[in-house]
């Protein structure tokens, strides 16, 4: 099967990996550091996507510029969301006890609200625009420029977040918080401040992903959910909180999608994808790079 | 005297660390065996292996001649009960409900809920927790939680009880009371006990024999007075100053 080694497939894998990794990045922060099941992640992406779309359609401003605006808007939303909802969720003992179920519901509610407010504000119609879609020749393969841009931004954003975690003490502080709240505060970590930053950053990264994805996919207020799922798969495959792990998770998913489809049939794509996910968790319940928790 | 427990050349490694290394000893029915050793000597790990929480890397543990399975629930069913050094009560349950779990599933295997409740009420009375019976376990003080560990272990109707530093955090007079309590419990339930404690007075007074671990290996085994005067033990564990105290 010579086709398997074709550069087209390689680039497709790369492009898909970068989208998955980018989409997972914001979720990784919120989920990996606070164990909150943010099922509204995709909706926040859509928020970013709509901002990019709206700004482009109205004023022809490049999404590469408006994405910063989208990030700021989402960060504000994150801040509000933290102050109004999550603070209470993570400080009321009765709520913390079932933090999984409760966070699931809070974010589920948030996603329902965002979807329907979105539908009300923008109508449910699918939207799209075209930007930077000229073809670029790389060797024998030609790729749309916007896909290359996504790869580049994804690499930069992932690397930045990774460095932040690896070399700053902030990463440790985040992990300390989730393990032992009292002890964390005794060593001087202010849960409130750290969590607020995480929320703003996580939401901003989601919006960034949305703004970029809007260049290559059509968007509707209701199309966030598949992204949420993809993001969860990526970070769980990689192991919670491990940014490097989630890049590998993204790569694995992309490979299954591209090469799995090529080897068998695209008909089995979803079965393969979910199958691999289930298999990995059956074999390694803590994800590929997760550490077993004491 | 019949042999209750045989520990045979048991080793447990964690990655590069050998927590317990080639330890063997026997224990008789009705005996109180002390387990002594510096921090990190492997005492708790040994308990975990006897209670089935951790599987030995090599070696064998026999309880009444049968190999102890590496599954805590099955070990409990055989009649082995342990307390946790770092206590782990069921925080959302009341003290009574904590105990009922053991009564229903331990080697007593009581099937009737009301009967289990009565058994547990008796046990809580014995360990002095009856006043707190309906309080959530999370509200107990540390000492209270240690008592609860004992009560829970007892509720499984064990024959071998493993006590891991249950007296830590008590003051001198409380220790005296607790010692009397444990002795009483031992006789009433005809238990055999292995006890880990860093308070010398306890080991010296309670145990019939003491096994000393040092860096995972068995350093020696003997009566309290033999152990207390052994120079190796003094060097490795007690520190010169405490010899006189003991």
């Amino acid at each position: 099967m010579n086709a398997l080694f074709s550069p087209e497939l390689l680039i497709a894998t790369l492009a898909l990996t970068s989208i998955y990794a980018l989409v997972a990045l914001g979720l990784n922060l919120i989920y990996g550091s606070m164990r909150l099941l943010n099922v509204a992640h995709g909706e926040i992406m859509m928020l970013g996507a709509y901002i990019a779309f709206g700004v482009f359609t109205a004023w022809q401003v490049s999404p590469l510029i408006s994405m910063f605006g989208a990030m700021v808007a989402a960060a504000i939303l994150g801040w509000l969301c933290y102050e109004l909802l999550i603070k209470r969720l993570s400080s009321t003992p009765a709520l913390v006890q079932r933090i999984e179920a409760n966070s699931l519901l809070v974010f589920f509610a948030l996603s329902v609200i965002l979807q329907n407010l979105g539908a009300w504000a923008f109508t449910a119609n699918a939207r799209s625009y075209s930007y930077m879609d000229s073809l670029v020749q790389i060797g024998s393969v030609s790729v749309a420029l916007n896909r290359l841009v996504i790869i580049a931004v994804s690499v930069v954003a992932t690397a930045a977040v990774m460095l932040f975690f690896r070399f700053g003490i902030a990463g440790l502080a985040i992990r300390a918080l989730i393990q032992q709240r009292d002890a964390a505060s005794l060593v001087g970590i202010r849960a409130d401040k750290v969590n607020r930053i995480i929320f703003c950053l996580g939401f901003a990264l989601a919006a960034l992903a949305g703004a970029l994805v809007s260049m290559v996919e059509s968007i509707t207020p209701f199309s966030g959910f598949p992204f949420t799922i993809a993001a969860f798969f990526v970070i769980i495959l990689g192991g919670l909180g491990s940014i490097g792990g989630s890049v590998v998770g993204a790569l694995l998913l992309a490979c299954v999608e591209v090469y799995g489809g090529a080897l068998t049939s695209p008909a089995y794509r979803s079965i393969l994808l979910y199958g691999v996910f289930i298999f990995v968790l059956f074999v390694r319940p803590q994800g590929l790079f997760g550490r077993r928790v004491a | 005297m019949t042999t209750l427990l045989q520990v045979r050349q048991v080793t447990r490694r964690f990655g590069g660390i050998t927590a317990v290394s080639d330890v063997s000893f026997d224990m008789f029915q009705g005996e109180v065996l002390g387990l002594m050793g510096a921090n990190g000597a492997g005492k708790t790990t040994l308990f975990s292996m006897i209670a089935g929480n951790v599987a030995p890397s090599s070696g064998q543990i026999l309880f009444e001649g049968k190999a102890v399975p590496a599954r805590p629930d099955q070990a409990s069913r055989l009649g082995i009960a342990r307390t946790f050094q770092i206590v782990r009560p069921f925080p959302g349950m009341t003290v009574l409900e904590n105990c009922m779990v053991g009564a229903l599933y331990g080697s007593g295997r009581e099937r009737d809920l009301n009967q289990a409740r009565r058994i547990c009420e008796g046990i809580l009375e014995e360990v002095g927790l009856s006043a707190q019976m309906f309080k959530a376990a999370a509200t107990l003080t540390l000492a209270g939680r240690k008592r609860l560990e004992i009560a829970r272990a007892l509720s499984t109707h064990p024959r071998l009880l493993l006590l891991d530093e249950v007296l830590a955090g008590l003051n001198a007079s409380e220790v005296d009371e607790a010692l009397a309590l444990i002795e009483e419990i031992r006789q009433r339930h005809s238990l055999s006990i292995i006890i880990i404690e860093h308070v010398m007075k306890v080991l010296m007074r309670m145990s019939h024999r003491i096994v000393v671990l040092h860096e995972g290996k068995k350093l020696m085994e003997g009566t309290p007075s033999q152990v207390g005067s052994d120079p190796r033990v003094i060097k490795a564990y007690l520190g010169e100053k405490n010899v006189r105290a003991a």
Binding site: I19, S218, P266, A267 | -
Partner: protein, 370 residues
């Protein structure tokens, strides 16, 4: 006069809300137009139209209950249809139980023949079997020798594939590639590489919009040169042309309507009215079918009034004049409108087949914009 109350359920929220938006807008357009003309002609008297709309939340389980409620609680005078085949199926039982006639819209499936229902009709002319036969005929006419077929595993496309393959065989056209893919795929590169290698004369994508996007993007990047490139559902949606612009030119798609068809006088008017109402072009498919179903109902009511039996009889027997030309039903099916195909030419969807209906001549796909 007392208003005529017309009820229907439609997805305003949830995953089908985007696709339901077109039909909903078409219904509302129709209502506004009728009311502007002084109301609905009910066997001679004009009465204003009032809608009773329920959101089915994209949950097919809710549809039957909604129509039950419309009929027995709200006691509406007339019904319009929800969006999508599955929702049509879900309410057939209710319609039969109450003997309440309803003109269907956006449903197409061979299974409707097994229905033997007396209270529902389907105005589409893109029934899978006719669609397959017509497609084979068109390809043969164009001199196509080899095709690649690429199908998404969803009801309607799959039924189409099943009818298309034997028809191609009969027409002596070789199927060099027959791929299926699961809904939700995110990449189509391997299939496209294969198509590129095989160089068929025609690529037939029995697709839905999300995967139609993948095809368009990949085909452009890999420069698929087949002169005939077909996408089942997708290209007529407004967002599609925004995304692909000139690249959409010469892509063929399903559809039996064009605003440029001169002998359907209202077609252009509908196009313009819809565009001025929503700011977007109608999607040539769902919005048109929805509008047609309302027109048919309108004309049947003008003839028979609101009596259910008279109405049923009128719908079953009359010929109606719609934006899509004359429509007459036999059984549940539209038997007058032939199966057609659309092709985008200079950004406008033109009917290119069959020749007697065509508004423009087929043009081979020549190039992708760089």
């Amino acid at each position: 006069a007392e208003p005529v109350r017309i009820g229907f359920g439609i997805s305003r929220t949830g995953e089908f809300a985007p696709t339901s938006a077109g039909p909903l807008a078409a219904y509302e357009l129709w209502r506004d137009q009728v009311n502007a003309k002084g109301g609905l002609d009910v066997a001679g008297t004009k009465r204003p139209v009032e809608f009773v709309i329920y959101d089915d939340q994209s949950d097919v389980g809710k549809e039957a209950a909604i129509y039950e409620k419309l009929i027995s609680n709200d006691k509406v005078d007339l019904l319009l249809s929800p969006w999508g085949s599955h929702n049509h199926f879900a309410i057939v039982g209710v319609l039969e139980k109450h003997g309440f006639p309803m003109v269907g819209s956006t449903a197409s499936s061979l299974q409707i023949r097994s229905l033997k229902a007396k209270n529902i009709w389907f105005p589409t002319s893109s029934m899978p079997d006719a669609h397959g036969k017509e497609m084979a005929k068109m390809l043969k006419d164009l001199g196509v020798k080899t095709v690649a077929v690429n199908t998404v595993q969803v009801g309607f496309p799959m039924e189409n594939r099943q009818e298309l393959l034997p028809a191609l065989k009969e027409a002596g056209i070789e199927v060099v590639l027959d791929r299926q893919y699961a809904p939700g795929v995110k990449d189509m590169t391997s299939t496209l590489t294969e198509i590129k290698r095989l160089q068929p004369d025609a690529v037939i994508n029995l697709s839905y919009p999300p995967d139609a996007i993948l095809y368009m993007r990949g085909a452009r990047e890999q420069d698929i040169k087949a002169p005939f490139q077909f996408l089942l559902v997708g290209p007529t949606a407004a967002f599609f042309s925004k995304m692909f612009g000139a690249n959409l030119d010469n892509i063929v798609t399903m559809g039996h309507w064009s605003p440029d068809k001169a002998d359907w006088p209202n077609a252009k008017a509908f196009f313009e009215a819809y565009q001025s109402k929503t700011g977007e072009a109608p999607d040539y498919l769902d919005a048109v079918l929805a509008y047609m179903s309302a027109e048919i109902l309108e004309q049947a009511v003008a003839k028979a009034g609101l009596d259910k039996d008279a109405l049923r009889k009128a719908i079953s027997s009359e010929t109606f004049s719609t934006i899509n030309g004359p429509v007459r039903f036999e059984g549940v099916q539209n038997v007058t409108t032939p199966t057609m195909f659309l092709q985008f030419q200079d950004g406008v969807a033109q009917i290119v087949h069959p020749p007697e209906m065509a508004t423009a001549k087929f043009q081979p796909k020549q190039k992708w914009e760089q």
